[in-house]
């Protein structure tokens, strides 16, 4: 390959006019404006190949375009061709130590440049990249690594003897200075600013000694392995002094392996890639970050976890969805909840990563038209979105379906609903007392979520009953008020238990209000067992409850029992006519959760239900994983 290149070079140079001469440092002497440091340039083969493959100019101008080309071109194509020819010749002549990448054919391009492609097309010429040296050894070290301390003096000695080696420290400037003094270096190694090199080469351990050829890695040694290091230096045309070096000494973890640093790098990369695009808010050194987030109106009144880019990027690892995908348009102001924005709010809510797909599914379901989130936010009623999670992912995410499932103490239960509500607040713009006109609200509006206890439930999960495939995890969002308990410690048979549950369901909103509300019964396991052992399925329980929540019209009419509320008299033609509480049996939702002991169930009432209001929405979590 190399021989072929040299032969071509000779042929090509023969076609040029007398080539300009170079000074010892590579400066082109013949043309005073051709201020090219030949030793500092090499061909970027990637760009060259792209150009010659498609015949189009490769990309936009950038600093990589060689000074040689720019300046020489002003003197006409011939001058540029001569200059480039000289540079190529120089590259070829300098032997192994400064050889261009093995697959470069410089003279071929030289001929092209001088005779065919170049005239009038500056972008159509070879691009050049300025590098410090064609071949270079970079040694990444850090200050608190004893193996680095052992190797550093030898690296410095090699550099002093002319080896093209750069020692680059992952540590701070101050730590690096102290390191240099401690190990007796005559100069302080340069610092890897922003860990750019460390990120690029991503070593597991330091010292990491890399052999670069035109910026391309050809070899590396992590840790101190003397024989391999000697071979690497030999390839670079240099020698590594071996005095005092052990044969083998394991290195230390690269600083990029520290979780905090890895997170910072991941966040930087996500920003560069466009995966995160949210505006950055800078909270000053003298501000308390928790107070600052309150003051900016971004919290629900409780402290939030500051959504740093690092935390958000780590959160986004828990979904395969594109962070810029819109999950839903959130009322009242129609803010677009991208996956990224939901992740930010999930971080703030205190979610752990595995909760994110559940939160995304809940946001998506809440933004469906039939859920009527706009009205739910704006209403004077105390309801808020309740998230019921049914399926295996609930437990993987750490949710509680057992004792105190509707209460405090479990991170996932406490934060999933909160993440949804923070998304409503921050993305949608629904703020209590402003857009949210609730007369009282209720504690569940901070966020309400629980998991279903499916292992001993009398029924399949709520979401599965409502269309989510049996093997998948589903969320059901319901516009719900606060739950109240139904105590029946004497129930032993399903009929009696239904009679008690019906009394509780009748009281939703107002016992005399009919057809406007849905109900959710969360059966405790001791109540659930009664249905399970009796072999009652969901439909039978629902039908029974529907039948039992029917009252004579005369008892429901406005004024009956001294209560002004109720059915308008004009609709009551027969006082004995039965009037159902619910519009259909399916409007009574059943779930199963709670601790082992306690003959209790919990009953939630809805907000204005059905087509005139909000309908519960069930969706699979799987698309959001």
């Amino acid at each position: 390959m190399r021989q072929r290149g040299v032969d071509r070079k000779k042929a090509a140079v023969g076609e040029l006019e007398a080539p300009p001469t170079l000074a010892a440092d590579g400066t082109c002497l013949q043309r005073d404006d051709c201020a090219v440091q030949a030793a500092g340039l090499e061909i970027d083969t990637r760009l060259v190949e792209r150009h010659f493959d498609d015949g189009d100019p490769a990309g936009s101008e950038d600093e990589d375009l060689g000074t040689a080309v720019r300046l020489a071109e002003r003197r006409g194509p011939q001058a540029a061709g001569q200059c480039i020819g000289v540079l190529l010749q120089d590259v070829a002549d300098r032997g192994a130590g400064v050889a261009p990448a093995a697959d470069v054919q410089p003279l071929e391009y030289g001929v092209d440049l001088s005779s065919k492609r170049m005239i009038g097309h500056r972008d159509a010429i070879v691009r050049w990249r300025r590098v410090r040296r064609a071949v270079e050894v970079i040694a990444l070290v850090k200050h608190d690594c004893e193996t680095c301390a052992t190797l550093a003096p030898a690296l410095e000695a090699a550099a002093a003897a002319g080896a093209p080696v750069r020692m680059v420290s992952q540590s701070s400037e101050a730590d690096t200075r102290a390191f240099a003094q401690r190990v007796g270096l005559s100069a302080t190694p340069e610092v890897d600013d922003d860990l750019v090199l460390s990120e690029r080469f991503d070593p597991d351990a330091v010292p990491a000694v890399l052999l670069l050829d035109g910026g391309v890695e050809r070899d590396r040694v992590e840790g101190l392995h003397r024989a391999r290091l000697e071979a690497l230096f030999e390839t670079a045309g240099a020698t590594l002094p071996r005095d005092g070096l052990p044969d083998l000494k394991p290195g230390c973890a690269s600083i990029t392996r520290e979780p905090e640093v890895a997170a910072r790098i991941a966040a930087r990369r996500a920003r560069a890639d466009g995966r995160i695009r949210a505006r950055e808010l800078r909270i000053g050194e003298l501000e308390d970050v928790f107070e600052a987030l309150h003051e900016r109106g971004l919290t629900d009144g409780l402290p939030v976890v500051p959504p740093t880019p690092e935390r958000v990027v780590a959160m986004l690892e828990h979904t395969a969805r594109d962070p810029q995908e819109v999950v839903g348009v959130v009322p009242p102001y129609g803010g677009e909840a991208t996956v990224e924005k939901v992740a930010i709010n999930a971080v703030m809510a205190g979610c752990a990563g595995p909760e994110l797909p559940i939160v995304l599914a809940a946001v998506h379901a809440s933004c469906r038209e039939q859920f009527a989130l706009h009205g739910l936010i704006a209403t004077t009623h105390p309801a808020g979105p309740l998230v019921v999670v049914s399926g295996p992912h609930a437990l993987e995410a750490g949710m509680n379906a057992g004792g105190n499932a509707l209460g405090q103490g479990n991170r996932a239960n406490s934060t999933i609903g909160r993440a949804l509500q923070l998304t409503v607040r921050n993305v949608g713009g629904g703020r209590p007392g402003v857009e949210d006109r609730a007369a009282h609200g209720q504690p569940g509006k901070v966020g309400a979520a629980f998991a279903e206890r499916l292992e001993d439930s009398p029924f399949a999960g709520l979401a599965q009953d409502r269309g989510v495939p049996a093997e998948e995890t589903g969320v059901t969002v319901l516009a719900a008020e606060a739950p109240r308990i139904l105590v029946d410690q004497l129930a032993r048979d399903p009929d009696g238990l239904c009679a008690s549950l019906a009394l509780a369901l009748e009281s939703i909103a107002h016992p005399k209000q009919r057809l406007a509300w849905d109900g959710l019964v969360v059966l405790g396991p001791e109540h659930g067992r009664i249905f399970r052992e009796a072999g009652w399925d969901r439909a039978r329980v629902r039908d029974e409850l529907f039948a039992l929540t029917t009252s004579p019209a005369g008892e429901l009419v406005r004024g009956a029992g001294g209560s002004p509320e109720g059915v308008e008299a004009r609709f009551v033609t027969d006082p004995e006519m039965p009037v159902a509480k619910f519009a259909a049996p399916e409007r009574i939702l059943l779930a199963h959760a709670g601790g082992d002991a306690g003959l209790f169930s919990m009953v939630y009432g809805s907000w204005a239900a059905g087509e005139i209001g909000s309908a519960p929405v069930s969706e699979s979590v799987e698309p959001w994983r």
Binding site: I276, A278, I283, I344, V427
Partner: protein, 93 residues
């Protein structure tokens, strides 16, 4: 140390909100829509408003949302905007 956090909001530009229409001060014969949000007894309030407006020489057009729980449909909003000079939206309960 400065802390950088990501904006959890939709990053709406407050300055690009829709401008308010000019008020109808002192104008006779305006066509005014009364929008019933469909809450109980909202019609009682609107009936009284209609009487007062007509006494003052205004035309009144009665409109209603399908349900109080949801925003007025876009078609209804457009119709009101095209046919009327102003709208009064009635709450109730």
């Amino acid at each position: 140390m400065e802390v950088v956090v990501l904006d959890p909001t939709a990053e709406r530009d407050e300055a690009t909100g829709r401008p308010l229409a000019a008020p109808l001060t002192g104008r006779d014969g305006a066509r005014i829509a009364l929008l019933d949000i469909r809450k109980p007894r909202g019609d009682v309030f609107l009936d009284e408003l209609e009487r007062l407006l007509r006494e003052r020489g205004h035309e009144v057009e009665r409109t209603a949302k399908p349900t109080f729980t949801k925003p007025a449909p876009a078609d209804l909003r457009r119709e009101i905007a095209e046919r009327c000079d102003a709208v009064i939206e009635a709450l109730a309960d």
